[in-house]
Symmetry: C2
Subunit: 406 residues, 2 copies
Amino acid sequence: MKYEFSERAYTLLRSPLLGIRMQARRGSLISLAEELPAEELFPLPMLAEAAASVISADAQALQYGDPEGYAPLREWLIGDWLKSKDVHVGEGGVLLTTGSQQAVDLFARVYIDPGDRVLVENPTSPGVLQALRMQGAVIIAAEGDGEGLHPEHLRQLLDRHRPKALFAAPNFTNPSGILWSVQRRKEVLELCLERDVLIVEDDSYGDLHFHSYSQPPSVRYPSLYALENNTVSGHVLYIGSFSKTVAPALRTGWAAGSREIIAMMAAAKGMADWQSSSLNQRLLYHLLDVTAFDLRDHIALLNREYHTRLKLMAELLKRSAWKEAAYRYPGGGMFLWVCLPEGLDAEVLLKAALAKGVAFLPGPLCSPDGGSRRYIRLNFSHPGRDELLLGMNLLGEAVAEFTARS
Amino acid sequence: MKYEFSERAYTLLRSPLLGIRMQARRGSLISLAEELPAEELFPLPMLAEAAASVISADAQALQYGDPEGYAPLREWLIGDWLKSKDVHVGEGGVLLTTGSQQAVDLFARVYIDPGDRVLVENPTSPGVLQALRMQGAVIIAAEGDGEGLHPEHLRQLLDRHRPKALFAAPNFTNPSGILWSVQRRKEVLELCLERDVLIVEDDSYGDLHFHSYSQPPSVRYPSLYALENNTVSGHVLYIGSFSKTVAPALRTGWAAGSREIIAMMAAAKGMADWQSSSLNQRLLYHLLDVTAFDLRDHIALLNREYHTRLKLMAELLKRSAWKEAAYRYPGGGMFLWVCLPEGLDAEVLLKAALAKGVAFLPGPLCSPDGGSRRYIRLNFSHPGRDELLLGMNLLGEAVAEFTARS
């Protein structure tokens, strides 16, 4: 039969990322395209111990759980945020999700109607754009610089478009890796409070902060959620996940915010898939609360290793092929956002790179209007030293072939 | 701030089921309302062994996987369906989901536009109704009897409403527990094929078949998907899960169908949550393929126990309080669908029952138009003998108080 898909289903099939994933998984490609943590750093022995204990201890670990997620893990999170980030969460203020992407999608489903205007940082994560397109949002690009969104530009957009929501990631924005200054955080929050615009703050990369200060990084650079500090009727939905800090296959992310929004998202969660795996949530809780695993120590280990990989990638970008390229050196996260030499198109380069066996994320996937054609996103967290050297060599060759021609 | 939720988000908050779940979880209520398997029958030692092996064997088990799900488990399923159900699936024809509810939701999102007409069996599962309402479908009730949907009535509905899809569960329909006759299966399929109507066939309860025949039950009562047997451009999307046969917290369900539909649903899956937990999928695969666990033997064990519980519940329904009530004795599944004595309203009874400490699912949650007000759904799979006795006593008391008055 001829299938008649829904109108917006067709927005889903644009991404070349699926093909890249598949090839990388088969080992026929070095992928600098994805958002993968380094699997050699996963705490496997302690996870295996946690899994065996949790399953043996209580048959409830395999039963249906609550749509909101396993209560002790939600409480653990609230305690950790208070201790390490000075973030306060009210009763009924946390929902566990299948990664942070599901938090984005559930929020979009309960808050955005077709035609609603939504601001996103430009560039922004492809996953945010997909969820907003699927919901029929009118997506408006908000521009910034190395300090974060431009307040004056933001004010104009807010007044002109009257958007319902702003999606932002002040800690190492995916893909650009920008860490917003504290001043900008305050200005952006103030503008949104004045106009009752809801902010979806993605803090998925906030813990991957490579520098140390006298205070914890997340206290020195407070989240918008912490800055507002309104657990009753706040303007910020705070999302993130354990995917980058423990392991993605546990598929455990969260949304935190006012009880009213969280209740609505939990109802949508129940409709979408009843609940995420409470087995995985119990396993995580056991790992965090019972085993010798210490999340902050583990994150420190990740940051040392990722920082080393970032430095290696930056070193490789000094080679001649890249001399017309430019990027901001990030203080954390997983990505470099590289502006290609003039005249070079990211999607044209991707074809050449794939032919050589290396992939990256082309800029237009991160842009609401398909712009950023001269930009590419390179991941430095996943490839080990050899893979990174080989991948960057192949990519450098592809770039050199184009620049030599022009 | 005052939150402005999306128009259809408000359809989500109607269900009293969330409150019931919460109370039952706290142990302050005997719940005959839910769809829970008996946790004392979970294969815990083999699951614990599988979890420890899988996590220790390969760090990839904790990494991001494919949106379609772990390939060896998809292949295992295809092999099992062929062997035990005579079901053929083509290449790229299976998507693993977070339970069968996510398969329903993803299908609705990629196939149904607001205003599209969709037929559902009346009564039907609350989860199907929620997902269709969230998508803005116009839901039309199709009626049937103990043999399945009425073909002539269905023909009239198809011609009058020109629906895009039909949701049906020919094997122990939730909530009514009806097993469609083979003749009706063929007639319904034929009508939908003639008019190019897509059928979403939920087979979540098909394995919980209490009678044995010379052939396997799923060969004697073939699924609509098996009857059509068109792996290229078929009219049937076949969904189900391991939640009722192994354990719900593994959150592993599926959709099987033509490559084109599965590809679109996989793209939606990537947008919704990237992927379900590949750790859980690997764990299931290990359980099914490596350990001594035999799925068919385990299902036989479940069926013996559930059949015993059904007989006990049926015995308790012979008591005087229920003498004006009526129900069809099901050949499988997890539920009895009971018609209350005349004049008794399911939601009024629920209030009285909750006050006594017992819950059931009121019929209107299973009806597109809030009908079935005289019906209640009773679950017999989860409560053990003592709980079942006590719960049915309390419920009988509540019924008797109403019938004594009238």
